[in-house]
Structures are given as C-alpha cells and as structure tokens.
C-alpha cells in the first residue's frame, strides 16, 4: 500500500481503522485530540460505520469502549495523560474483568507540560493495572503496534495501554499501511459473570490476572518490540524507552552507536534482555521520556549493584522532555558553540483572542468582585485559565477538570464569601455537574459562573456536550430557577452583567451565571463553511 504522511496520533487512528476497529471513544485533550479527529474525518471510518462521537469525559469514554468490547468488537479509548486519572477507575477494573473484543487505551503524556498541569508518566498505570504497555518510537511503529495490541488484548483477554508523548503525537512522518482487516462479529461474552466484580468473583479473576501478567512478556507480540543490539564498546550499555531511541541514534549519523543498546518499546520489561545488557557492561545509561521508571526498577531499593546513569544521578535532567542534545551530552558527544537567544527577545505567552467572550466575562467578574475585597475566583481548565495572566490576574486555581466548583464549595464552608467559580461549558459537563449537585444538596453559598463558548475551545473547537443544555441541566440538578441567570458577555452589556453578578454574589445560596457567547474561532470557521456551502448551492 502507498505511504501516507501521518501524525503519531493519526498513525494510531489509521492503524485502529485498518485493524478492524468498531468504536472510538474519547474526550479532547492535548496531545491526544487528533486521534478521534482523524477517525471522525476519515471516509473509511464512515464507510465502516465506526462509532466516533466525543464522550462527556474520559471515564465515560473508557466505559463505553469497554461496553463495545463486551459485544466482541474492537474498541479504543484515547485521552491525555491526566484524562487517565479521570478514567482510572474503569481502567484498573477492566484489567480484572478482562475484555471480550480487543480493547486499547491510548494515553498521551505531555512531558515538559506544553499544554498540561503535570507530566505524569502513564507507564505507571500499566504496572498499576497489570496490563501490557506499548510505547512506540516512531509513527510507523505506532501504526504497526495497534495490530499486535489488539491481537494481544484478545489472546490474553485484557486491555492494552498505548503510551505516547507529545513529540510523537504531534510529529508527522510517512507510514506504510497494511491491508485493512474486517471488523469483529457481534459475540457476547461466553461467561455471563465475567464483568461482575463481586468480591468472590473478583478474587478469582485477580489471581488469574496476576499469572497472565507474568506470562505475557514472553508473547512475541510484545517481545519482538524489544530489541537488543550488541556493540564492541562495552563500557556503557544504553537502555532507551520509546522515542528516546531516536534521540540516541540521531547522535550517531555514521553507522549508529558502537556500544550495546537495548531498545524498549513494550512492557512489562524483559528481564532476560536487560540481563544480557547489564551482564556485559560496566555501567548502564537509561534514557526514558517521563519518570525514571526503568531506572528505579534497575536500582531497586538497595541501589547497590550496578552503576546506573540516568535522571536520578543528574546525568539527565530529572524533569522535562528529552531531546537529541540532552541525550548527546549524556553519551559524551561534545557540542559546538551555539548562537544565544539575544536579550531583546521577550516572552510571548498565549493570550485570549481579540474579541473572546471569556475576556468580557472576566472583566465583568473583576468589577463585580471589587466591593468585596476578594482576591479572585476559583477556575478550571480551558482557554479561560489564561485569566491567571495579566491584565486579569483574577483566577486563583486550575487544578483538575471540575475542581473550581468543588473548591468553591469547600472554601465557602471555610468562611470565604463570595466564593465564586468560573468554569467552561465543556469542563462543566465533563466534571462540574456532580459538584454542582453537592452544592445544591448542601445549599452552599457559592456562585458558579459558566463561561459558555459553546465548544471545547482550547483543543481546537470540538463539539461541547453542554451546548443548548446548560440552563436545563442546572435546573434539573436543583438550582432555583431565579438564581440561574443568563448573560451575554459583550462590552455593551458590561454594566448589566456586573450588576447581575453582584446580585448573585450577595445571594446566600447556590447561584449560577451562564455567560454565553460562541467562541470567535469556531464562529468564524462556521461562517466560512456556511458561506462556501451557499456558493456551492
């Protein structure tokens, strides 16, 4: 088949389509978003009627994927690394229930936090759930591994975790495709109690999982992705994980490294190959993107055997992503003098787009808060988090999806007034609604401002579950009708918006202000596509 230029994310998506995927489930999150977007725009996915709608959050996505697997069909759930925290409950338990149709969970990590609040390493979740993990080093591997991952998942009847990092997710290269495989037929689990984790059943299933986890590392669908290449220079052996392999090879353009290298791209890690390497070298350098998981494993608790070089002894930075220059330095490649960034260069942080509705919402919030000598509001994760920067400096929290609502409740309990949360529409339906129910039940003295731009903006404008439903949701959760206020964040409405916010800040009970105006980016894209449709007509 012909080669195609694909992002790492897209290679996984195309691999899944070609491997007979029947359902794709996801919530947008950088750097994972393009997996679902690719499947949504793929003609082949449409022809094959692959389910491909966004879910409310990562937990609902993974659970729906598990349901698709229940029917014997292949399913994939994709999310960013912190999304796997949200989906951790179904993820950990799905390894105990096991699967029916193949199930792959993709978690895209973001070391160096380009667009995230931490740089947690999803490989930990693989060990935590006792499932195999693939960590491709290239777009082609990402594509190919999807086939092995589905096969492995079905053979051992457990979910498989796919771990990628930002650079692979968002880097494009040519990928050679295989002939597409048919989708799996509808076939319910032979054991009707497979998914019933009553303690008596769960104990048995957990014992079975433990023995599967020990045996699967010998399966060739995993083991073939871990390659040991010996070298004549045996002082230092190098273990690379995932994309770190590319950074190593980059430093040896003529003929590759002359020392032993173990390229790891599948876990649980192969003890025999690691022994092959450590047995013939004086010291081992570990190159891994993310946390020093392999390095800590090699050191063990006593840390008294082999000389190990890596992130823990300072040879490599303890945090942040790797790159070819950092890796080059660690293997002793001398760098030439470089141009420096001149002092005249100023930092250019991201900012609200001109005319953004969030900006008008925050200007009203700032003014409405003035009489209270308040030091700011709780907020959440989205474009609106930019209100933490000047000239706004108005938000005091960005912790996890939905936390603004619940932190406001706790702070109100602690005596803060007014206790205000500003949350986006998509974040609200992701994880804010349950917090609002808490507020209603407790009759907390909080004001929740939903900055509704009718899209999931920061990740590029995906459909928001909240659009057109916010008032009904709030009313249904029990917020009093007269304390659900809808405003339009435009400069001409500023005075009125400030007045409405103040009224609700003064109300001793739960109030919601829905500040609603479409994202200017999605609005302009919509107008463009509407005008081109008119032209065609």
């Amino acid at each position: 088949m012909q080669k195609q230029l694909l992002l790492g994310d897209e290679a996984i998506a195309q691999g899944a389509i070609d491997a007979g995927l029947s359902g794709m489930y996801a919530y947008p999150g950088t750097p994972s978003t393009e997996i679902m977007e690719y499947i949504q725009s793929s003609g082949e996915a449409k022809e094959r009627s692959i389910h491909r709608q966004w879910s409310a959050n990562e937990k609902t996505a993974l659970e729906a994927a598990l349901g698709m697997s229940y029917t014997g069909k292949r399913a994939m759930a994709a999310m960013k690394h912190v999304g796997l925290n949200v989906a951790a409950d179904p993820f950990i338990n799905s390894s105990v229930t096991g699967i029916n149709g193949g199930l792959i969970v993709v978690s895209a990590d973001d070391p160096s936090m380009h667009s995230s609040q931490n740089e947690q390493d999803s490989r930990f979740y693989g060990k935590f759930a006792l499932v195999p993990v693939y960590e491709p080093s290239s777009q082609q591997e990402a594509y190919d591994m999807v086939f092995d991952a589905f096969d492995l998942s079905e053979k051992y009847r457990i979910p498989v975790l796919f771990r990628i990092t930002t650079r692979l997710a968002h880097s494009r290269a040519a990928v050679r495709r295989r002939l597409p495989e048919p989708q799996k037929p509808f076939r319910l689990p032979s054991d009707p109690r497979q998914f019933v984790l009553l303690p008596a059943i769960a104990r048995k299933k957990y014992k079975a999982l433990l023995s599967v986890y020990e045996s699967l590392k010998y399966d060739h669908r995993l083991s073939k992705h871990n390659v040991f290449k010996d070298g004549k220079n045996r002082k230092t052996g190098v273990i690379t994980c995932g994309i770190a392999y590319n950074y190593l090879v980059e430093n040896f353009p003529e003929g590759g490294p002359d020392f032993p290298v173990l390229k790891l791209t599948a876990y649980p890690f192969p003890k025999d190959l690691i022994s092959d390497l450590t047995g013939r070298c004086e010291e081992v350098l570990v190159l891994e993107e993310g946390y020093p998981i392999i390095e800590e494993g090699l050191r063990g608790i006593l840390d008294n055997s082999l000389k190990i070089i890596g992130r823990l002894d300072g040879a490599l930075p303890r945090d942040g992503e790797l790159n070819p220059s950092i890796v080059g330095k660690a293997v002793g490649i001398r760098s030439e003098p470089l141009y420096k960034i001149p002092e005249v260069v100023r930092s250019r942080p991201p900012s609200f787009c001109n005319g953004c509705g969030h900006s008008d919402t925050f200007l009203a919030v700032m003014e409405a808060l003035k009489p209270y000598k308040s030091n700011g509001v709780f907020s959440d994760i989205g474009c609106y988090t930019l209100a933490a920067l000047p000239p706004y400096n108005i938000i005091n929290s960005c912790v996890d999806m939905g936390a603004s609502v619940t932190m406001a409740i706790g702070a109100a309990d602690g005596g803060l007034h007014p206790s205000v949360a500003v949350i986006g529409d998509s974040t609200f339906t992701h994880s804010g609604m349950t917090g609002l129910l808490d507020a209603v039940i407790k009759n907390s003295h909080v004001t929740i401002i939903i900055s509704d731009n009718s899209t999931t903006g920061m990740t590029g404008g995906q459909k928001s579950h909240a659009t057109g439903r916010l008032e009904k949701i709030c009313e249904g959760l029990g917020v009093e009708r007269e304390h659900i206020r809808t405003i339009i964040p435009l400069r001409k409405n500023h005075e009125e918006n400030v007045r409405i916010m103040k009224e609700e800040f003064d109300y001793r009970g739960v109030s919601v202000v829905i500040s609603s105006r479409e994202c200017i980016q999605t609005a302009s894209r919509r107008r463009k596509s509407e005008s081109s449709e008119r032209k065609i007509q």
Binding site: L5, L168, H170, E336
Partner: protein, 192 residues
C-alpha cells in the same frame, strides 16, 4: 532525486500566522521528491497568540529524531522578526535565517523593531524582507507566509517547480483565484 541531501528547517512565528501551512507545503514537495521527512509541530494551548514553531527535517536517508538538535538547523524560516531570534540556538553557524521584517505586536513590552533587526543582522547568513508589503503588492495581504517561503526557497534543496506544485495542491480546494495569488506571492518572495 538520487543525490544525497539533508535540510533541517525551523519554522517560527505567532499562532495563526500560517507556519503550519508552510510546513505542509514543503512536506508535500518533499514527498513528491521521494525524500524522507519528519515534521513536528505545536498544538493546543500554545497556539493562542503565543510563539509557535515547527521542526521540519528532510533527507535522502531515514530521519531518526523528530526534533532538530541544537546547532544543526540549516535554515530558520520566520514569519515574524522577533520570533526568528527565539530559536537561534538551533541554527548552525553555517545556516541561513530568512525572516519577515513586519512585527506582530500582541504584547506590551514588544521591543523596538530596529533593535530586533540589529540582532538579526549579526547572523552571518540572513535575509530580511517585508513579506507583508510584498504580499499586498502580489494581491493578498494574507499570503505573507508564501512570500517568506519563496524567499527561503533558495536554501531548500527541492526544485522550485515542486514547491509551486505543492502550493497548487495545498490551495486546490479554495479555488483558482486563491491558488493564483499564493503562487504569485511565492514567486515574488523568491525574487525579493
């Protein structure tokens, strides 16, 4: 293309200025010439009016790293003057810096443009052009990125004809008027 080649290119600008379009067009031309390539780009929060960059690596041999090592870029193509300086540690001492002179000012402490240009002129191989002005003359103020690509094309080891074909492919969906104006901008940039 049988001969051996390698171009490591950094593209820089501000979110929304069209550097990913430049990257895509060079990539299309590279594929037509049977070159290997890797192109990494920035998505997500950093796109909101912040600085953006893309690493584009073309080679007659397989490319390993998605990122260019420091000091190894053959070319920086920038659609904004201050942004052209942000990635200097990547530029090889023998490399070229090709940049637009028109600033994109969305921060309060943007330095005087002359100070920026002074720093650019310190780079051994540099070319500064007013891409916005040239684009306007060519017929579309929005084609500044094609002007810059044209100006940088002398330092990309791909036949210019292939770049033109790639521009045509890239804009095909938008109709012949938009395609023509972008081809015109590309050519004007090459001659600038």
């Amino acid at each position: 293309m049988n001969r051996s080649m390698r171009n490591d290119i950094i593209l820089s600008g501000v979110g929304g200025q069209g550097i990913l379009s430049i990257a895509t067009i060079i990539s299309l031309a590279a594929v037509e010439n049977n070159l290997y390539l890797k192109q990494s780009e920035v998505h997500g929060m950093s796109q909101r009016g912040g600085d953006v960059q893309s690493h584009l690596r073309l080679s007659s041999k397989p490319v390993s790293s998605d990122l260019i090592p420091y000091g190894k870029a053959d070319l920086i193509i920038s659609v904004e003057p201050m942004e052209s300086l942000r990635y200097l540690p990547w530029l090889s001492k023998a490399g070229w810096l090709v940049t637009n002179s028109t600033p994109f000012i969305n921060i309060n402490d943007y330095p005087p443009v002359e100070e920026i240009l002074k720093e650019i002129r310190k780079i051994r191989n540099h070319k500064i052009i007013d891409a916005d002005e040239i684009a306007k003359t060519a017929g579309s103020s929005r084609s500044g990125n094609m002007v810059i690509l044209g100006a940088a094309s002398h330092h990309i080891d791909i036949p210019f004809k292939s770049l033109e074909t790639a521009v045509e492919k890239f804009f095909a969906k938008k109709g012949t008027d938009i395609t023509d104006v972008n081809i015109k901008a590309l050519r004007a940039g090459r001659e600038a």
